[in-house]
Symmetry: C2
Subunit: 431 residues, 2 copies
């Protein structure tokens, strides 16, 4: 267990899969301050073709260390995916490690030269001396075209294991995998089907409540795996099964949805900001936001969605009381009487930003993100969200835990969720 994540249900070997391993190569990944992120999408992609990642590891750009890691992995896995160390600099030695370990000398391969030349030509360049090293491929290995970078990948079979070497740059690794490795693995005669996954994202229910509501929903032997992951943005429920059980999976997903009710704000790859954006766009509503403790995070999240300018009119981050008076027209006396962190001010903020902007909906957040500024009456983590929408004017109080960043995250999520709830229930008829 790590962070606030917890798994419930039958997580184990219920779904038989081929064992896979991922080895990320690069000394910078061992320096602290940088993490391998390729394994995130590789894990997903491999699972979808029936390969379960059971070990992930990170090694530096040291030939002997890379070889040792591959040797260990190949003993226990059917598929080993390497990322990184294929570039043109002297520290890039993945190809040398594979060549020496498998006894297949490096050869300059015409397909690799061609793939590299084509990419560089698009950028108006020709290969330099160091870049020519990128065309060196272990003999007998298959060259994997890199559609977005100059270093091609390769794959070969060794001791019954498929060893795949991908470039380290995330976009290149992803595109190279999707273009050749994914299809190859899917065609493998040992895979008869693919894994399907359903994700349901909830907010507002504690982890233990989600767990409680799902009790007994997945029976042992059903062939469906249930997982539960918690973060400041909420609790995500995952259901996984082979495609042959896809109707069971969908039936279970519907049952889970019913049990969790309105708390499910999104499914699959959707985010809260995308869901809210789609509802606003569908209803031809514009939005104006007044933020205090979240400092712009609500606006930042909404504008992560391409096309958000269609519905987001403005965001006023009123950190000072004077800004609340100026930009939102909140009476100073109201702030003096109730304090800037109060239901009254949250309501006035939502009302103020809506009326000043003439946007369809006004949303506000005010609170104490900490670590300083809390009192006994108004502790760190106290947050008020206000909503001013056609036919609906409301505020809600929250008490969050955690550090400054996670309180800001939870507060932004609570604000967006309050807006979503209104859009879903009232938004369609209340205008």
């Amino acid at each position: 267990m790590i962070a606030s994540a917890a798994l419930v249900g039958e997580y184990g070997r219920e779904i038989p899969m081929r064992a896979g391993e991922i080895i990320a190569i690069g000394s910078e990944l061992l320096l602290g301050g940088r993490l391998d992120t390729n394994s995130l999408f590789l894990t997903e992609q491999l699972a979808s073709v029936g390969v379960e990642v059971r070990f992930k590891s990170v090694v530096g750009d040291v030939e002997a260390d890379i070889a040792a890691a591959i040797r260990t992995a190949a003993r226990r896995a059917k598929v080993v995916v390497l990322t990184g160390g294929l570039g043109p600099t002297r520290d890039d030695c993945t190809r040398h490690a594979v060549a020496r370990l498998t006894g297949r000398p490096l050869r300059r391969r015409p397909e690799a030269m061609e793939s590299m030349r084509r990419r560089l030509a698009e950028w108006g360049r020709t290969p330099t001396g160091p870049q020519l090293r990128q065309a060196l491929i272990p003999s007998g290995a298959e060259v994997l075209v890199n559609p977005v970078g100059s270093a091609p990948g390769f794959c070969l079979s060794w001791r019954g294991c498929l060893v795949v070497a991908l470039p380290g740059v995330p976009a290149e690794a992803e595109r190279t995998f999707a273009g050749s490795v994914g299809p190859k693995l899917a065609l493998d005669s040992t895979v008869k089907e693919r894994l399907e996954r359903r994700l349901l994202h909830t907010f507002g229910l504690p982890e233990s409540d989600v767990e409680g509501r799902l009790g007994g929903v997945v029976r042992a032997g059903s062939g469906v795996r249930l997982g539960l992951l918690a973060s400041p943005l909420g609790v995500t429920v995952s259901l996984t099964a082979w495609r042959q059980h896809v109707s069971d999976l969908d039936r279970l997903a519907r049952r889970v949805r019913v049990r969790l009710g309105q708390s499910v704000y999104a499914e699959g790859k959707d985010t809260m900001e995308e869901v809210v954006g789609r509802h606003l766009a569908a209803h031809h509503l514009t939005l104006a936001v007044a933020e205090s403790c979240t400092g712009g995070l609500v606006g930042h999240r909404l504008t992560q969605v391409s096309g958000s300018s269609a519905y987001l009119d403005r965001v006023a981050v009123c950190y000072s009381d004077r800004a609340k008076v100026d930009l939102l027209g909140i009476p100073e006396a109201l702030i003096r009487r109730h304090g800037a962190v109060s239901a009254e001010v949250a309501e006035a903020m939502a009302r103020g930003i809506r009326s000043r902007s003439q946007a369809g909906v006004g949303l506000s957040v005010t609170g104490i993100a900490g670590p300083t500024g809390g009192t006994a009456q108004k502790p760190v983590g106290l947050v008020f969200v206000g909503l001013d929408a056609p036919g609906r004017r409301t505020t809600r109080e929250f008490r969050f835990h955690g550090d400054r960043h996670s309180i800001k995250l939870r507060a932004s999520q609570a604000a967006l969720e309050m807006l979503r709830q209104w859009l879903v229930t009232t938004g369609s008829r209340g205008r």
Copy 2:
């Protein structure tokens, strides 16, 4: 190599250290969507006591897999740190894996019970049945007090290797390590000194320029390691050496600083937003920000710093043209003539937010974050930053590459950097 990171100079075995490995345990870390972050601070902490992490790995909550990972690691390392799998649920089996592998049966240990009872008592609770499992420790192992959670850690020597088991929750892992493991490793007779590190964060210079300017600055055999890491927030230079070479290290750091000049915006653990905040506070200046394409990200970053309410007055995210007219008083004709993404509008935004708020400084960003909305004249990635400060009114044009998120990040960094440059050079005298 991964992402846009690149290492230059002598990165290798120049500094002799004890070999270390980190094993993160938790099936949720293999599901995709979640990364082990404990290894980030553990790598730093271990380096500071002379342990170099050469391999990192991730395994699921599977006893045999955990044992296999420890066995492999112990063969090549002197220190193996495990995180996770010490909790009260049935899937937590790290202690069982260690006990079986090392042949040291689990015993309920009074010190562990005591540590757990004390923590739970603070929360007004007593241990439940499942929590009692957390007091099971391999016999002969030393119990490590967990100062912030209920699951204690432990450590033991096995085949000449120190095996340390820490809880998986990041705050608990960090505090448990700092409280007992760090001091123990530092006292180890084989460590005579500690590693020192200097970090210099730059923005505005391409990676190749930084590399070019640093050519020959670190000589082979100098005992100082030079590293270079690139991200959307800029290029970071790291210099590492044993404490006995600390004067060489500081001399080199000064030389690097001179060569990189004004591009160095922060050192060590400092962030851009902290540096800008400190300058503003020191000069008793308030700030108002007008954002367009960054959508609130500048405000979000500034308010990640505790105490930022002392200098941040307000942020106006003007996504619509009407908002620019209303909140900043920009003439509609100016927007029609030059377009919302233009030097003229950027200047008017900075001027408008400053005069309306009466803040000491006005800062603005307008641009095209993409992926849509670009034209031949105004492509995706075109960004203008405006600054309106006492004695200084200026704008600057940038052309960034990357996806929507990295363009937003680069634009926010460019805006804060422009403010910092003014604060450093003019800020002190220009008022």
